[in-house]
């Protein structure tokens, strides 16, 4: 196998599938994954993403996941568009074409548009995961780079290379987000594996520097969710999410829908205000004052009449 980074295909390269006969004109490289490169491509008038790999079996395994998701989730436009091989000179390049998803990684999005988007993005992400889990899959390699956020916090998962059937060993993961790495459980594909990664996502997005520092300095035997929670409690942005994060790290939800619901409750205004010193939100105090004044003036009017 050649290194995926050493043989980039120049823009304008045309891939012609030898089985299905469709051709794709590559426009630009979108990203390099662990087992292939993803290009933005045009086929006729439509735009799609094309993943080119070296190992046809490995690529097909990924395409199988997409195909099975398409089968389970009818009623949306399909992820997987085509699977084929292109002949480029001597070499055969296995590839598959999929829906192109514009957007930017969560970390970039939050940096650009602000932390107030955490609630919406987190909610949409959990909803997406609960669909995936209901279909019998665990996403596995959940991390900022694999979650693209489009307009107004719309979330799409990309790179299904880690997606694993429920009950099997997670196929691909990233150390920092992996619950095995943090001695918080097994690498068996189950919904709680993804919840853990979601918790890590928010810690990474909102306090990345300290998290990376922590993962480098802690001895392996000291890696534990309680270290993560110490970090959470001492960060202004993570503190309001504390109860949810603690449950997610411990795998303490009944199912992903419950995790989603708990996240939604967390985002309600009175809940967020509960962290304030007084415990009484300003608007409520204001309303009370107004009603008091009204009451006094009405009483006075009535008495003095």
């Amino acid at each position: 196998m050649t290194t995926s980074s050493e043989s980039r295909l120049p823009p304008g390269t045309v891939l012609r599938g030898k089985w299905n006969g469709k051709s794709y004109t590559l426009r630009r490289l979108l990203g390099v994954g662990s087992n292939g490169q993803v290009y933005l491509a045009a086929s006729g008038r439509s735009i799609c993403a094309v993943k080119i790999g070296q190992d046809p079996a490995e690529l097909q395994a990924e395409a199988n996941v997409l195909a099975s998701l398409d089968k389970r989730e009818r009623g949306r436009s399909p992820f997987l568009l085509d699977v084929d091989d292109a002949v480029a000179g001597e070499r055969v390049l296995p590839f598959y074409a999929m829906q192109y998803v514009p957007g930017m990684p969560v970390k970039t999005y939050i940096r650009r548009y602000g932390e107030e988007w955490v609630g919406v993005i987190g909610y949409r992400l959990l909803k997406r995961l609960s669909e995936l889990h209901a279909a019998g899959w665990v996403f596995g390699d959940l991390k900022s780079d694999n979650i693209l956020v489009g307009q107004y916090g719309r979330v799409s998962l990309v790179d299904y290379g880690g997606t694993t059937a429920m009950g099997r060993g997670v196929r691909q993961f990233t150390e920092l987000y992996d619950r095995g790495f943090w001695s918080a459980g097994s690498r068996t594909a189950e919904p709680s594996y993804d919840w853990f990664a979601v918790a890590m996502l928010w810690i990474h997005v909102l306090d990345g520097k300290r998290l990376v520092q922590l993962s480098r300095t802690l001895l392996p035997q000291n890696r534990h969710p309680r270290e993560l929670m110490t970090l959470v409690r001492t960060n202004r942005l993570l503190k309001p999410l504390e109860s949810w994060l603690e449950r997610a790290l411990a795998g303490g939800f009944r199912d992903t829908e419950e995790a989603c619901e708990a996240w939604r409750l967390l985002q309600q205004p009175q809940q967020r205000q509960a962290g304030n010193k007084s415990g009484v939100p300003g608007w409520m105090a204001g309303l009370f004052a107004v009603s008091l004044i009204l009451f006094v003036s009405v009483t006075a009017y009535w008495l003095l009449r």
Binding site: M1, T3, W19, V32, A57, A61, G167, Q172, G180
Partner: protein
């Protein structure tokens, strides 16, 4: 499926040739992978050549990495070897049944089916991995990373559906006539996995070849008749030399 994973930092200097020992293991159906651990960036040309040769003879793959990368590398090699072993067997069947050389020659629709079956086999087949750790003096500073890599591998294997066992050996042994020592017999998961710490004798020799033969003997004793690989192709394992992976671990 049987694998030996050798973790070392350089050349052997006593006893039988490790390349011949690896070739023998492969002939008996055991794939040998090699992880070379180098932190200061200097591995002799001789050491590097030997590492590559052992893996080639053993039908496996080799990587030279820093101790930080070891965990991920060990798991990637184990997983790729499982996939390659399944692929070999499947290719053999395909040749017999359809007269095609490999999965890649099937049209995508058929390929999808075959790959699904391959994944099932890879996930459910019984897997045994014997780790053989070079514990000679120069490896001392790297041993904590080695232990972590072993524990991490055991954790990943535990998540497989099929039965997965890990055994741990280190070399050289305590006595001059003892090439290597068993630290942990076949165990499932991480609980009873015993490690190397405190057991090290800092002898100057590196009997990689004899140690490999010792582990091979251990396989013979514990796994009964070792099947002979039915595949004729001499080096069918796909070699992947990419170092940069976007995800840290591919398991």
């Amino acid at each position: 499926m049987k694998q030996i994973l050798l973790i070392t930092d350089g050349g052997s200097n006593v006893g039988e040739s490790p390349v011949v020992a690896a070739a023998q293991a492969y002939a008996e159906g055991i794939v040998v992978n090699v992880a070379g651990v180098v932190d200061d960036g200097a591995i002799g040309e001789q050491g590097a050549t030997e590492i590559a040769e052992i893996a080639r003879a053993g039908g496996g793959m080799s990587r030279i990495v820093t101790s930080r990368q070891l965990s991920g590398t060990v798991q990637m090699m184990t997983r790729k070897t499982v996939a390659a072993t399944v692929q070999q067997a499947v290719n053999h069947e395909l040749r017999q049944l359809f007269g095609v050389e490999s999965v890649a020659e099937l049209p995508p629709a058929k390929r999808a089916e075959v790959v699904r079956v391959m994944e099932d086999i890879g996930e459910t087949a019984e897997l045994r991995v014997a780790l053989l750790v070079d514990a000679s003096a120069s490896m001392r500073s790297k041993l904590p990373s080695v232990e972590e890599a072993i524990r991490d591998l055991a954790l990943s294997l535990k998540a497989r559906e099929g039965e997965s066992m890990v055994a741990v050996f280190h070399f050289p042994g305590d006595a001059t006539d003892e090439p290597c020592v068993m630290d942990s017999d076949w165990t499932h998961g991480t609980d009873r996995l015993r490690m190397l710490t405190g057991k090290l004798k800092m002898r100057g020799t590196t009997p990689t070849g004899p140690a490999l033969l010792h582990v091979l003997e251990f396989f013979r004793e514990t796994c009964g008749n070792i099947m002979i690989e039915p595949v004729q192709t001499p080096s069918p394992i796909k070699r992947d030399d990419s170092v940069e992976v976007r995800s840290d671990y591919v398991v």
